[in-house]
Each structure stands twice: as structure tokens, then as C-alpha cells.
Subunit: 211 residues, 2 copies
């Protein structure tokens, strides 16, 4: 029988986390496909062979980083979607939440942007799967709104994906600006709000134009 906790497991988790942390730090300036195993273990302060006690290869560490980066975002998204204020207020909230999440998880989000179309298939697919789940959640949230009356499920799904893609786009914009460049951050916030308003207005008048 294996215990779920214990000194053994805790210590193992600790170096595993150290590998993830050091990896994330090193990946701020390079791609996963060029991150060396020895380079990583050297940064952590363990022997190269120790790596294999935790991950079969680098791609696997990358997949773990995807989970760590986007796992906590699901709750955030559902929380924002739950506020069915339905007015323009939710737009400001969405943009503000995005800005805050990027600020607090900058290396994680950088990693996601960098590897979304990167050279490691397993990581690309893991990211795509997470974004797919995001779109699912947004689609569910949209479906409950009165403004979605008359929309086909397929078109609603497209709209949900547009919102998710827009969130990624906005996050990437915040990434490109220096963290302390307030002017740039305000410019990005303004642009993001404007884009979301345009999309929302288009959504509201979509059915009229169809007639």
C-alpha cells in the first residue's frame, strides 16, 4: 500500500517543483525545444540523472508546466462568466482580470504564448486542449445569457472561441509591454475594451442583420 503523504513523497514533490520552477525561469529567454536537461538540473542543483526520477523527458515537463500555468484560470473564467451583469461592466472586469492574471503569472503566460505554436507537439496539444476547455466554459456561460436567444449552438461556440482568442491576444499584448510601463498598460487596456465592445455590439445586432 502506498501512502499519499510522508516525508518521502514531500521531498520528491519538492525537487519536482524545483525543476518546474527553474524550468519556467529558464524558459523566459528560450524555447522548450532548446532547454537542455543538464542546463536545467544544473540550475536546480541536482544531478542530471535525477531528472528522470520525475519526468521521462523534457516534453513531459512542458506538459506539466501547461497544467500549472492554465489550471487555475478555469476557476477565474467561470467566476467572471457567473457575474451576469450583462452590461459593459463585465467587459471592464474581464480586461482587468486578464491584466491582473498576466501580471501575477507573467512567466507562466509567457511560456504558454511561446509554446502554443512551438516545436514540441505534446505541449502544443496540451495547450490546445486547455484553450478548448476554456471555450467550452465560455460557451456554457454565454448560453445562459438572454442575449444569446436565437443563436445556434455552433455559432455560439464560434463566439465563445472568439472571446477566448481575444483574451489570449490581450494577454500577449500585456506580455509584450514592460511590466512597469503604465502608459503602455493603459493603452492595451483601452484597446482591449474597445475590441470587446465592438464584438459585443456585433453580437447584439447579429440577428437583426440576418433577416
Amino acid at each position: 500500500m502506498s501512502h499519499t503523504s510522508g516525508v518521502r513523497q514531500a521531498q520528491k514533490q519538492q525537487t519536482r517543483q524545483a525543476l518546474l520552477d527553474a524550468g519556467l525561469r529558464l524558459l523566459e529567454h528560450q524555447n522548450l525545444s532548446s532547454l537542455g536537461l543538464r542546463e536545467l538540473t544544473r540550475a536546480v542543483g541536482v544531478s542530471p540523472a535525477a531528472f528522470y526520477r520525475h519526468f521521462p523527458d523534457m516534453a513531459d515537463l512542458g506538459v506539466a508546466l501547461v497544467g500549472e500555468s492554465l489550471g487555475s484560470l478555469h476557476a477565474v473564467i467561470r467566476a467572471v462568466m457567473a457575474e451576469t451583469t450583462d452590461s459593459g461592466d463585465i467587459i471592464d472586469r474581464t480586461v482587468a482580470v486578464t491584466e491582473r492574471y498576466v501580471a501575477e503569472h507573467r512567466p507562466h503566460i509567457r511560456f504558454i504564448a511561446r509554446e502554443r505554436y512551438g516545436g514540441v507537439r505534446a505541449v502544443r496539444e496540451a495547450i490546445a486542449a486547455e484553450l478548448h476547455r476554456f471555450a467550452d466554459e465560455v460557451a456554457v456561460g454565454l448560453a445562459t445569457q438572454p442575449a444569446s436567444a436565437g443563436w445556434s449552438p455552433g455559432d455560439l461556440r464560434v463566439l465563445a472561441e472568439l472571446y477566448v482568442d481575444h483574451m489570449v491576444m490581450t494577454a500577449a499584448a500585456f506580455l509584450e509591454a514592460e511590466p512597469d510601463d503604465d502608459a503602455a498598460r493603459r493603452r492595451i487596456t483601452h484597446a482591449a475594451r474597445l475590441r470587446m465592445r465592438i464584438i459585443s455590439i456585433g453580437r447584439a445586432h447579429w440577428l437583426d442583420e440576418q433577416g
Copy 2:
């Protein structure tokens, strides 16, 4: 005095192009930051030292690839913008042109998507500069349209960037689908058109909502 043409220059250009071609091929399955110099010269069939006759380092080859990938797109974009049909027809044209360009320059576009937020700063900046120019051109095109009356230059610029980002988004979607998966291609085309229509409708009603 240096001749612009001649056997010498032509032969040099030839191996330079061979380096770019082989690089693009190798970069279909990895990132620029992990592409080895020897790996590249081996694929071309020249000695490692020959590389330095054409590029100071790999980042420089990457920048050259950016130019090769996006250079010919400016003319395409301006051509599409010039068709001021102003109706929903231009949307179908835009999506069709995007699909065609991706199909005909698949490795180039993959390279752009992969390195847009990649680990090589010089390449990231080169791509950002090109996309900035695209937005400039779209903004100029939009300004001439009657539908842009009453729009501030700043907001018009945001709209232009939204269109460019949307084009990139659509191109990436075509990339992710297999080239011969007609069903997927049709799905992506449908979604892209729907998104563009939503944005266009939002644009048309933007000024009403402001009052």
C-alpha cells in the same frame, strides 16, 4: 566598384537561398533557438564554416526568413483593401485570400506563428514590426471607407489591429488543420467569416451606442 550581378554573386545567392530553404524545412518540426548550425549546413550539403559567409548567426537567418515570409503579403493586403466593395463580399474575399496564402506558404506561416513569441528577440521584433506595418496599411484602407466617418484615428487604429490579429488567428487555425482535411478547412472558413461579420456589424453600430 561592385557589380550587382555576375557569376560570383549569383552563386552566393544560390547557397544563401539554399540555407534559407533548408532552414525553413527544418523549422517545421522545431524552434529557431534549437536549430543547430551544423544541422543546417549538413542539410544543405556545405561545410559549417560556409554559413558565416552569409549570416553572422542563426538569429540573422531568422530575420531574413521573416522578410521572406511576410514581404509578399503587403501587396496582397493592399490589393484586398483596395476592393472597397464595402459589403460582406470583401469578408469572403479576405478569408479566401488568407486560406490561399497559408496553403501556398505553409512553412513560412508556420515559422511566423512559431517565432512570433519565440525565444529569439531579434526575430520577435522583426515579426512585430511587419505586423505593425500591416496594421498601418489596413488603417489607411479603413480611413478611406465611408463607414469610418466619425471614428477617431486612435480607435480606427485599434480596429485595424483587430483585423490584423484576426487574420493571424485565422491563419493559425488553418495551420493546425491538416492541409487535405476539407471538412476542417470549411469549418475554419465558416468561423472566420462569422467572426468578421460580427466585428463589421459592431463597427457599423459603434457610433450609435456612443451617444
